[in-house]
Amino acid sequence: MLYHHEEILETVRMINHDLLDIRTVTLGLDLRSCIHPDPQLMAQQIKDKVTTEARKLVAVTNEVERELGIPIVNRRVATNPIADLGAAALAAGHRDFFPLLAQALDEAAQESGIDFIGGFSALVEKGASHADLALIESLPEALSSTSRVCSSICLASTKAGINMDAVAKMGSIIKEAAELSAGQACAKLVVFANAPTDNPFMAGAFLGAGEPEMVINVGVSGPGVIRAVVESIPDLDLGGVAEAIKRAAFKITRMGELVGREVSRRMNIPFGIVDLSLAPTPAAGDSVAQILEAMGLEICGTHGTTAALALLNDAVKKGGTMASSAVGGLSGAFIPVSEDQGMIEAVQAGVLTLSKLEAMTAVCSVGLDMIAIPGETPAETISALIADEMAIGMVNNKTTAVRVIPAIGKKTGEMISFGGLLGDAPVMPMKEKAASIFIKRGGRIPAPLRSLTN
């Protein structure tokens, strides 16, 4: 079959100029076969299993990347929630062994050459087991002493409500992790409402309940492609803009579908989902904020931003759904502040605020992401910020998340740097009035009514 030259050049331009890439091929890997009452033995088995499978992933994705000529930026592994592995060792009387397991995951990641490993996780939206609590307690040490291990904690769901005891706990865990690591550990820690079981993106990737022994999930990105499309149609009305975004999202997602099928076939592992998420990077032009600005906003964060983002998020989903029989994960637009040059500039201009970001999370995927806050913010205030975001996810039956970084020793307006894809973030102001009495009440916010939805 021959192709029109315009078609070939369009694809080549998307890759070379507009930074179309496969952000990640993530191998979901069940580690329950490694459960052992002796933590040392368990750690060794975890390391061996992850290293073996991850090496295959790296080799195959390198081959596919070369043949297709599409950059695959990250190779990742997502394990089932590691808290689930710890009950036997706890019952045998061992304590404080979760950092050892994190170490094993980190060593496996480094030795096999994958970029991140997710799943150092616990799902506690309704309540926490002993092992869940032990894992959560270990997070500051585990994440500060490793470089590639990512953690997600599910605190709320539409069906269970919000576990406010866990929300209260995570405020202090995040603060402690920041103090131990100058903030770096917090970039690898996210809390969720309605955590997806098949998300390939970090820090939130884990292999959830109901998933197979192993599975290939692909995360595609391409804010630069969408931005270029929107910039090329200054005269269309917003219906036309949505249509153009859908077409571009379709094309981007097809690349994820192709890569997923190829990797799956070569590894003989089922292909799970394509997650079409517009995940920005610090590179020039690879920005979700600039897509919104291309629609006609003077700067991201001003009035109209939520509407523009709603249009973008929906059009991306519609285009992506047509392109793959299995779209899943988060699939939408990400709005991480530190990873998006346009967001950083909007914050620095004083237009994009935490309150506006919170409103934006009601209409796009994920939530308050990669946001630096003053290091002196009280733990209860962090918990209250989390509670608000969990409530948005719970009530709207969608995934929301919080990944905030208390910038120790820094105040509003100063910058904190994370390096690589994680970028730099300006420290954003928090409200100074307390919510500590509300947070200290603890308990559970009940699941919401699903009718009478006004």
């Binding site: 079959m1 021959l2 070939i8 050049l9 080549v12 297709l68 094309k251 097809r254 579908e257 192709l258």
Partner: protein, 89 residues
């Protein structure tokens, strides 16, 4: 194995000859070829080829990679599936 090769860079004598010669060496059969020089001397070429022996892919890619460096061009070698997936429903 069908491939699409795109070549972009500053125009100079012998680009088509050099690329074609490498293809012939690796049993690559040219199915379609389009080449033009834009104003300002920007050379562009798109080739659609059939590689008779897919085992030769790595060697072909390596040879074209060396040519890319030698002539200071951008040469992309991609499986045809990329374009089929993106542009055909």
């Amino acid at each position: 194995m069908n491939l699409v090769i795109t070549v972009v860079g500053q125009d100079q004598v012998g680009i088509v000859a050099r690329v074609s010669s490498i293809l012939a060496d690796h049993k690559g059969n040219i199915i379609d070829l389009s080449q033009r020089v834009m104003t300002g001397g920007l050379f562009t070429m798109i080739m659609q080829i059939s590689l008779l022996d897919r085992e030769r892919f790595a060697a072909l890619e390596k040879a074209l990679g060396e040519l890319e460096g030698e002539l200071n061009l951008k040469i992309m070698v991609q499986r045809e599936d990329v374009f089929r997936f993106m542009h055909r429903v």
